[in-house]
């Protein structure tokens, strides 16, 4: 017995796609395919299958059913008035992707790509993961659809996010710690591409964000845009008008593109992406790719990246494993150059302050990634004043981060760590006053000379 499908969507009702990318995956000067020829056939196959599936009512019906019955969509929109008091009195609403099955927005994309994998007749999926949320989501979809699953994760991240490693293994996935390079997300992506080029006949690469070669940036955007499509309707329904500002954290950029896309045509709505500022962009220890990087090629596409004079990728630094990536999706580079979206850095301490505030004022423990968007709301709210309405994408929940947060705040018995600022919401943590050895240990080993 199967669950009844939602009414099969009429393809004419599909939301309008942005005018980009072009047929070969270019967002203005960004995007494209900078990959070995050996992968071109697989990328072509994926593009063709996806373009057919995208307008296939049977697929759309199945996808909608999974989103409703498995993920739990639509995700709620939550007013957070006590938190909003710290945002200059602006009205703040959270789009609750943290309430999705598996705990983040990553599941939206993965269900689409897993269905696509079955459609092209492949039996194995591989994925890269940083925070582990995309790995958990992929392992989940693989279990659901009977696919075998290998997840590449930087060795450094397997330590920072041990809970998610255990979750993936419980779900039946093989987790491969990556020991090359900086041992973080960028190296996990390299390793996943190496696996794919070797096993492309049986294997589909389920990419976790809106970066990588065409068709990934466009396809992942299409799977994630449900966030903004829902939120736009929910906000209109609740307050009868559009929000003034839409905010999201930006690692590779999928949750941000997911909530931005529906609002791109709404000229009056500001779109603000919050990048991981780490210790501060001026310290060089950050992951603020658009703020602190410049255009180049990484992981199969042209976009902004953190690089040195020789074109070597510079290692990024962030307390948040999911934002600790020296690249960014090409559509963000394009939106930045167009002036349609703004990108700002949020430091580790600012993010952790917002993290603590949301816990204490609203009873919601956010992912540290999402806490960067909350910190952005605190800053932007104070700039725009009390009449403004801010829509914030709460991309994930913080269970995976409890250990890191406990260390940061000096809770529990992590005696080796300096006690951090308390959780008293009136206290403003002093920037840089707290060392967080756990989140940064080992990364210096790979510093470029």
């Amino acid at each position: 017995m199967t669950a009844p499908h939602p009414p099969a969507p009429d393809v004419r009702d599909l939301p309008a796609r942005p005018a980009w990318p072009d047929a070969t995956g270019h967002f203005g000067p960004y995007g494209g395919r900078f990959v070995p020829e050996a992968l071109i056939a697989a990328l072509d196959e994926l593009t063709e299958a996806y373009e057919a599936m995208r307008v296939d009512p049977a697929f759309l019906g199945e996808f909608a059913r999974l989103q409703r019955d498995y993920t739990g969509r639509p995700s709620p929109l939550t007013d957070v008035p006590r938190f909003a008091e710290h945002c200059g009195g602006a009205r703040v609403m959270l789009k609750r992707e943290d309430l999705n099955h598996t705990g983040s927005h990553k599941i939206n994309n993965v269900l689409g790509q897993a269905l696509l994998t079955k459609r092209i007749g492949k039996s194995r999926v591989i994925a890269e993961t940083g925070a582990g949320q995309h790995g958990v989501a992929t392992a989940t979809a693989a279990a659901l659809m009977g696919l075998s699953c290998t997840v590449y994760m930087g060795e450094e991240d397997t330590r920072r996010q041990a809970l998610n490693v255990a979750r993936m293994r419980l779900l039946g996935a093989e987790v491969v710690p990556v020991t090359t390079g900086s041992r973080t997300l960028k190296d996990a992506i390299n390793e996943a591409f190496r696996d794919w080029v070797t096993n492309v006949e049986t294997t589909n690469y389920v990419f976790g964000t809106v970066a990588g070669p065409h068709p990934f940036p466009a396809m992942v955007r299409d799977f994630q845009r449900v966030i903004g499509d829902e939120a736009r309707e929910q906000v209109l329904e609740r307050i009868g008008r559009l929000p003034d500002v839409v905010l999201a954290c930006v690692g590779g950029g999928s949750n941000a593109i997911g909530i931005f896309t529906a609002f791109v045509p709404d000229d009056g709505v500001r779109l603000v992406g919050l990048e991981a500022g780490g210790d501060g962009v001026d310290t060089g220890r950050h992951a603020a790719t658009i703020t602190g990087g410049d255009p180049g090629v990484l992981h199969g596409a042209r976009s902004y990246l953190l690089q040195d004079d020789n074109g070597q990728t510079i290692e990024s630094h962030s307390i948040s494993a999911g934002l600790d990536y020296p690249g960014v999706g090409p559509e963000h580079a394009y939106l930045h150059d167009l002036g349609r979206a703004e990108y700002r850095p949020v430091t580790d301490s600012e993010a952790m302050e917002a993290f603590a505030l949301l816990c204490r004022t609203e009873g919601i423990i956010p992912a540290i990634e999402s806490a960067h968007a909350l910190a952005g709301a605190m800053q932007v709210g104070r700039e725009v004043g009390p009449d403004a309405v801010l829509l914030v994408n709460l991309s994930g929940r913080g269970d995976k981060d409890v250990e890191t947060a406990s260390r940061w705040f000096g809770l529990g018995d992590h005696e080796e760590v300096d006690p951090g600022p308390g959780l008293d919401t009136d206290q403003q943590p002093t920037e840089g006053a707290v060392s967080n050895d756990d989140a940064t240990a080992g990364q210096d080993a790979g510093e470029l000379a």
Binding site: T24, G32, R33, F34, V35, P36, E37, A38, L39, I40, A41, A42, T180, G181, K186, D187, N190, F193, R194, V197, T198, V200, E201, G296, V297, L298, H299, G300, Q307, D309, N310, G311, Q312, T313, G446, L448, A449
Partner: protein, 265 residues
């Protein structure tokens, strides 16, 4: 005019395939890596691929990654690469740069082409640049007359084989197996099949890489290709501490192989 094609034709005139050695600049250090390149030439390499170290070598296996990581950390860049080019040319082989695209783009595409030509380089092999994305590089190589080598793979369609080989100058790089660099016990039929399919759409020389590690395998590949490309085996010789002597000895073995045409198959 094409320095690479001329050298491969000269080998063909001797009834043999060309031997193409890959070594990255900067492992174990810049000077020693350049010494190793010269040793490869002394042992019999016709062409040397001078590898540009890159932090994210997506197409390379663990052997080359290990060496290149050292060079990246030491800050090795394009000026060191150009020194390697000059040294290989002075040693009498044809130098060609092997680089992922971002280091070239960062250096400046036109500046790279000018400096490479001035150093006596034949051109460049770009493993993650497909002709579809290569506009500025096609223009710069046309302007300077440099060779440009793109890759074909077993998964390439016939249409792509035709368009990619048409964009190549110097030779066509047939990546013989699906996968990353690294030595393999057997080079396999996939390589021969790919070379046949490639020859059906182009008159340019076709050289085979990915997997060759000794003279016998070189002989096998020389039976159907115009050039035999060897990378990981050279790098392995350096990683094992053999220094220039081991590199020279490997070249001697491989150079014997490319002259034993047919014996391996």
């Amino acid at each position: 005019m094409s320095l690479l094609q001329d050298r491969i034709s000269a080998a063909r005139a001797e009834g043999r395939a060309a031997l193409i050695a890959y070594l990255p600049v900067g492992y174990p250090d810049v000077d020693a890596s350049i010494e190793a390149m010269v040793a490869a030439v002394e042992g019999g390499a016709d062409i040397v691929e001078i590898g540009v170290p890159y932090s994210d070598p997506g197409m390379d296996g663990p052997t080359i990654q290990e060496a290149v990581d050292v060079a990246v950390r030491a800050g090795v860049g394009m000026t060191h690469v150009l020194r390697g080019v000059e040294a290989v040319a002075a040693a009498g082989a044809v130098p060609v740069v092997m680089s992922y695209w971002n280091p070239i783009e960062r250096y400046g595409v036109d500046r790279f082409a000018d400096d490479l030509a001035a150093a006596g380089g034949a051109g460049a092999i770009t493993p993650d640049l497909i002709p579809d994305e290569a506009g500025p590089w096609l223009a710069a190589t046309d302007r300077t007359g440099l060779d440009r080598v793109f890759l074909v793979a077993p998964s390439s369609t016939d249409a792509r084989l035709a368009s990619t080989t048409a964009a190549c100058r110097g030779f066509v790089y047939a990546a013989s197996t699906m996968g990353v660099t690294g030595t393999r016990a057997s080079v396999g039929d996939a390589a021969q099949r790919l070379v046949e399919r490639t020859r059906a759409v182009t008159d340019r020389p076709v050289c085979v890489g990915l997997g060759v590690s000794d003279g016998d395998q070189a002989a096998e590949v020389a039976g159907f290709a115009d050039g035999v490309i060897v990378g990981s085996a050279y790098v392995r010789a350096l990683l094992d501490g053999g220094g220039p002597a081991a590199v020279r000895a490997l070249s001697v073995d491989l150079a014997g192989g490319v002259r034993r045409v047919g014996s391996g198959t």
